[in-house]
Structures are given as C-alpha cells and as structure tokens.
C-alpha cells in the first residue's frame, strides 16, 4: 500500500507527498494537528491540512523571518515571536548573542508540545534560558505590552481561521505600540503569485503606519508557489542599510549578508503589487 498526503494549496492546485508513517493526529480547540513522516521532506507538520514546515526545507523560512530583522536592528535585546509554536523561529532568534529575552506568544499549546515530541531540531531553541513561552492570544499580548520589544516576528499560519486577525491593520498598529523606539517587525505575507491582493493591502496598511516599509522574498518549496514574501515595518532602521553587526558569527544554511540584501531586489511584477 502507498500512502500519499495531498495539500490542496488552492481549490485547483496542490502538492502531494509519499508518507511512510502518520506519527500523530489530534484536534485542539484551535485546529487539527498532523505529523507525517514523508519520504522526500522528512517529518512534516500539518495544521488544518496545510503544511507548516518540513525537516528538509524549514531552515529557509525560519532563517529568513528571523535574521533579516535581527540583523537590521542594531541592538535587538527584547524579541517577541507571535505564532511559531513549532519553535523554528525562536531557534534562530536565540542564535543572536545580543538577545536578552525571547518571548513566544502561541495560542495553541498543543503545537508546542507536538513539536517538542516530534521535531527536536525545530524545538531545541525552547531550551534556551532566555526563552519565555506564553500560551495565549498574540493580539492580546501585544496590547498588554506597550513599548517593550525591539523586534517582533509574526510567524503566523494562513490568513484564515485562528490567524485571521494577524493580518489586520489594527494588529499592525498594536505592534507599533509594542515596539520600543527604533523597533522592527516582520510578518510572513504569503505568495506574490497566489496572494497578490493580500500583499498589496498589507503593504498599504503597514506603510501607512511605519516610516520604513520593505518587502523581501525567499523560496519555500513546500509553501504555495514556493515563492514567499515577508513584509517588514520599522520605526527607524532600514534593512537595506543594515551594518555594524557581525553576521559571520551565526551559523546558517540559507542566510548570508549578501542574501539579506538580495532578498529585497523585487521582481517587476512584485514591485507593481506594491505600487497599486
């Protein structure tokens, strides 16, 4: 017998992966969680039928959501990750020696528990003494912690279900208030090919709040179209002028200082999305 998992990334297109074992399935108050052992990509974390990360390609997404803003800020001491219960983003955050405190605000504690059990390479960052895990609503956490963080990373699921509010203008305003002077935030903002309207809208919203707004791209093979965007809002530091930190001190498989700069060179059709 052959077992295949197919994610319909849209109504009309999907990816399909041969599964050697299903390791875990549960329904939490927030979503369905599945862990699959795939032959091609290793273990795969699936939330509500959507691939969140795989052993084989997760390094690209997690390095790019974390290191770009952390190397943009000249002295990132206080860092907040919203979502990201798998731990991959926190793992990258704590590679930065200047970070004194890294808070994870994840709404679904079961994601954290499942990652600790099945994804040791993702969740190992949780063991760092600077990490604080707060199980709860990221929106509420941001409201309750004004003028607190140097860097905030919005590592959300798709803009449907529990994460819908994480793509709203009010949330970006809340983040602005939660950032200290010179603070920087980044949100994952989906695929420019499949989610053009979302990207245009989010860009306009963030640009209306933050003095510096930039979009950058990275390939994520198991996400829709494999071409992923991140939108950065900053109270001051510009990621295109990031300098002064020693990037060579951090071990990476995707990120380099050159890749940092290059990821902001946008294809013409993406530039046009931002000019709408």
């Amino acid at each position: 017998m052959e077992l295949w998992f197919t994610e319909k990334q849209t109504e009309n297109f999907g990816i399909t992966a041969k599964v050697s074992r299903t390791l875990h399935t549960e329904r939490t108050p927030y979503q369905r969680i599945d862990v699959l052992e795939t032959v091609e990509y290793g273990r795969m974390l699936v939330l509500d039928g959507m691939v969140m990360c795989t052993d084989r390609d997760e390094f690209i997404y997690h390095e790019m959501i974390a290191h770009v803003p952390l190397f943009t800020h000249p002295d990132p001491k206080q860092v907040l990750v919203i979502g990201g219960g798998d731990g991959g983003t926190i793992r990258e955050v704590v590679k930065h020696p200047r970070v004194e405190r890294a808070v994870l605000a994840e709404i679904d504690e079961r994601v954290i528990a499942v990652s600790k059990e099945y994804f040791p390479a993702l969740s190992r960052g949780f063991a760092d003494p600077r990490v604080e895990i707060e199980v709860g609503d990221g929106i509420a956490h941001v409201k309750a912690n004004k003028d607190t963080y140097d860097v905030i990373l919005v590592d959300s699921t798709e803009p449907i279900g529990p994460a819908e509010g994480l793509f709203a203008r009010e949330f970006y305003e809340g983040i602005y208030e939660a950032l200290r002077p010179g603070g920087v935030f980044v949100a994952q903002t989906e695929s420019p090919l499949f989610n053009a309207a979302l990207i245009s809208r989010v860009w306009r919203d963030i640009a209306s709040i933050y003095p510096v707004t930039r979009l950058y791209l990275a390939p994520v093979p198991t996400y829709p179209t494999g071409m992923w965007s991140f939108t950065l809002g900053s109270k001051g530091p510009d990621p295109l002028q990031a300098e002064g930190q020693d990037e060579t001190a951090i071990e990476t498989r995707y990120y380099t200082p050159e890749v940092h700069g290059a990821s902001f060179a946008l294809p013409r059709f993406v530039e046009e999305l931002l000019a709408r």
Copy 2:
C-alpha cells in the same frame, strides 16, 4: 467528474493540478507531448510527464535564462538557443535590439508545432524575421558551427532521455568552441535541493573550461522545489559587472537590473555545493 494531472517530480513527491480540458496528446520519435488546460496555471506543456511551462509562471524562467546572459554580453549579435522548442526563450531573445540573428536548434519539430498551435504567447517570437529554426540535434549544431555565436542558451529538458548529452562536459567544450571571443553561455541546471550532485558536477566541468563561471537562481513554481538554478560560463564578460546596456528598454515582468545582480547572491548551502 474532476480531472487532475499529477507530476511525480521525484519518486516520492509531486504537484497536482486540476485540469479543465486535455487539449493535445501525441508521441513523437523523441517523447510524449501533452497540452493541458489547468485551472490554476492556464495551459501547461508537458513532455514525458514533466511540466515544461505554464501560461502563468513561464515568464520567470524565460526572462531569467535569456536576459541575464544577454545583458552580460556587451554586444550580443548572434544568439543560439538549444532546445526551447516552445519559443519562450526566443521570444525574450528577440526583445534585444542588438540581436541580428537568433537560431533555435530543437530536436523535436513537433514541440515547435504544438507550441505554435496552443501557446501563442510563447511562440510569437518565432515570427521575428531574425529567427532561424533548425530542427536537429543541438550537439551536432554546436560542432558544425565553430566561432559563430556571442550567446548560447541551453534550454533543455531534464538530464534524462533526449537531453542527457546536454549536461555532459564534452558538450560544454563544444559550446566553448562555438562561441566567439567574449562569448557567454547559460544552461538551466535544475534544483539545488533535489539535484545537488548534478549542480556540483556541472559547476566543476564548466569552471574547468571557462575563465568565468557563475551560478544564479530564480523561482519557478511548477518546477521541482520551485527553486531553479542556471549556470553561466563566459569567455570574458562577468555578469556581476554587467553594465553599458540600457536594460530599461526591454519590457519584463520578472527581470530588472537589481534582480539580475541579486540572483547571484547564493544561499550558504548552494555556495557549499560549488565548493565541493
């Protein structure tokens, strides 16, 4: 009834696309050709079960295989495309006003005919008076035309079946002989995630022949992993110092002068493939 086409990109992973109509199927002496109307990506050209291009995402691949070398060469007059029977690459080549002659050497005349019938947006470049179509073996064409071309583009299928010889060291030597002084060539060289060994080997082969060797990347959603590589060999001009041509004169949807440079900023794991 729902019809879905699934390409197994490896034994254990694939993409799957809802098909509204199958427009064409045939077996030629070289391969099987299928044309599908997909809901998500528009028309899709499939050779031996592998997606070659789709209406929706073909612009990225074709712009990047053509404009990077054509803007690297200071005066590209004579251009050869090997493979590329769909016409997408030639369409981009003839956007360059300095090109006086663009030869297409495609082994399977049926690919050209099918593209003319079903992919007008791809094949419209064939109508340009500077284009010469030569149906035949690209390897033989290169051997028979020494010291002839300024730019050669190897727009091949996967390194199995009819295209196998297009990934061999002897072929890269033949291309070197077919290039005039200062000539530049590019080959599509698959995915760094799925074809690491191939990329390392091709890089070594090309670097042992050409004074300048560079690898660049572009996202191609419907190719395996969506992260695609191109390897460039040059007798002189360096794509990282390309200047002097007016890139703004050419209409593109992906390529920009900034994207040109950024595409050579390699992720650390790709740099490591080239150092092997």
